[in-house]
Amino acid sequence: MWIAYKTIVIKEILRFSRIWVQTIFPPIITTSLYLLIFGGLMGERIGPMQGVDYLHFIIPGIILMTVIQNAYANTVSSFFLAKFNHSIEELLISPVSYWIILLGYVSGGVARGFSVGLGVFIAVSFFVDLSIHSIGIVLITFLLTAVLFSLAGFINAVFAQSFDDISIVPTFILMPMTYLGGMFYSIEILPEFWQMLSKFNPIYYMVDSFRMGFLGSSTTDFVTSMMVLTSMIILLAIVAFYLLKRGVNIKT
């Protein structure tokens, strides 16, 4: 089973690496623009947030946003295309267990999230003097976030019947949740009602923990954030496994 898992992961990494111009490069350009505009040009006028200057404040959120988008995009597009061109049958006729298939695709999403996140981090390092408060918190938050959104992308791909269906969720759900999850601001500046509402957004916990890893300050308890993330991963993993095992939109 280890060989089968390794095969899926290598296949996934080669897939997004072959099309690096579409997968790795654009997020680095977009992020650099975000930093230039929001951090560099407007940041000085906005002033410090959570005790640091605005440019340093938004960097963790922007890195995590690219991780979220790319982990999601990788599994949703890869699994949907495998359904679309029927290459998923290569796996279905083989003795690879459903857990391994799921784990393989999720690992592919994590690998792309990591590649792009690292790329953005390196690009940012050229412009800003970055320091990391706790590498452990940064890595664990990255890993849980990438796993969670890879699973979400996988579930989206299972239900998707057309190319439109794989862009609806990222555009209408993922992007608003990311932007409203405290990526560009600290939720402390929001009125109490909106602060409370933000706490129902799981991305808030990810961004807050990731920022804590970089800056050392947060607005919520790290353990609570990890519990929220882990619970959601368990939930989505069970759903994804069930859908795959039942062959929803894969087998008739």
Binding site: I3, A4, T7, I8, K11, H86, E90, I93
Partner: protein
């Protein structure tokens, strides 16, 4: 020795209530070269889909080399290699990668898979294209790629769903030689085809599916023996008389130099003798119709 494939009362009803298979019983012995014939919608691809775990059955049982699919699915999967009817690989993947990945899914490590891929790609004459994307291959090359992929994990049973579709005559012949070679080495091969000539040439045993049911299963020899009627085209270098004389067998003038005869019990030599007595000298004889085709049409009631 258990059968390579044993199907018992297999039924498949799709969600739209279309019954693709109805109480199908079928057995294929180990080492056989078996033809599964049937028109479009007869249920062949559904049956293959169920055997290969691509479709869920409604009821019934499938066992492969004595292993029950319901309880020993992974072992059953290891026994089977499938070359499907539709192209089902990632067109944006290099062809060597497609083969190596397929082997990986069966637990074969990359190093071993690479060696096996080289062997197979050379055998099917695609080695020079190993780094090309699959989308750049011609239709016939794509079929050969799927054949090689099906063989990567060295299955005991090879299932070929319309292997010759879109393959030119030369490549088809070389593919047939390869399949015969595999069968001679002991591999059980199950083939569905629209080229009845292909089934007649390759297969020892045959089943005919029609409307989701097996309407005939026997050896190819026994089945063909049922077709006593032969339709022949006879050609003469001299002009044929017009009208043709009344003979003991059915005869139809096609043009000045050729005619079609239908022989029921009469042998060709007797027919030629009868024609000779009438002053008609025949120089060439050829079959007007494939015998299996005649039988197939008769059994599936597409022709009287």
């Amino acid at each position: 020795m258990p059968n390579a494939l044993q199907i018992l009362k297999l039924t498949k009803t799709y969600a739209n209530n279309v019954q693709a298979l109805s109480q199908v019983d079928l057995s294929v012995e180990q080492g056989d070269f078996f033809a599964l014939l049937g028109g479009n919608g007869a249920g062949k691809t559904t049956m293959i889909g169920i055997i290969c775990s691509l479709l869920n059955k409604t009821s019934g049982g499938v066992s492969v080399m004595g292993l029950d699919q319901a309880t020993e699915l992974n072992q059953v999967k290891r026994m089977i290699g499938l070359m499907p009817q539709e192209f089902n690989f990632n067109p944006f993947e290099p062809i060597e990668e497609i083969l190596i990945n397929q082997a990986g899914y069966y637990g074969i490590d990359r190093h071993q898979a690479k060696a096996r891929a080289e062997l197979l790609l050379k055998r099917i004459e695609l080695w020079d294209k190993r780094t090309d994307m699959a989308k750049s291959l011609s239709g016939g090359m794509k079929r050969r790629l799927m054949l090689a992929r099906a063989l990567m994990h060295e299955p005991k049973i090879l299932i070929l769903d319309e292997p010759s579709a879109g393959v030119d005559v030369e490549i088809r012949r070389s593919m047939w030689d390869f399949l015969k070679e595999l069968n001679n080495e002991g591999m059980t091969i199950i083939l569905t085809t629209h080229y009845l000539e292909e089934a007649e040439f390759l297969c020892r045993n045959i089943a005919i599916l029609d409307k989701g049911q097996v309407i005939e299963q026997s050896s190819m020899k026994a089945l063909l023996a049922k077709v006593s009627q032969q339709v022949l085209i006879l050609e003469s270098s001299k002009s044929l008389p017009s009208p043709l004389p009344m003979l003991s067998f059915s005869v139809e003038r096609l043009d000045d130099h050729s005619m079609q005869v239908v022989l029921d019990k009469l042998s060709i030599s007797n027919a030629l003798e009868v024609l000779g007595k009438e002053g008609i000298e025949i120089e060439h004889v050829r079959s007007a119709q494939n015998r299996l085709e005649t039988l197939f049409l008769r059994l599936t009631s597409r022709e009287g």
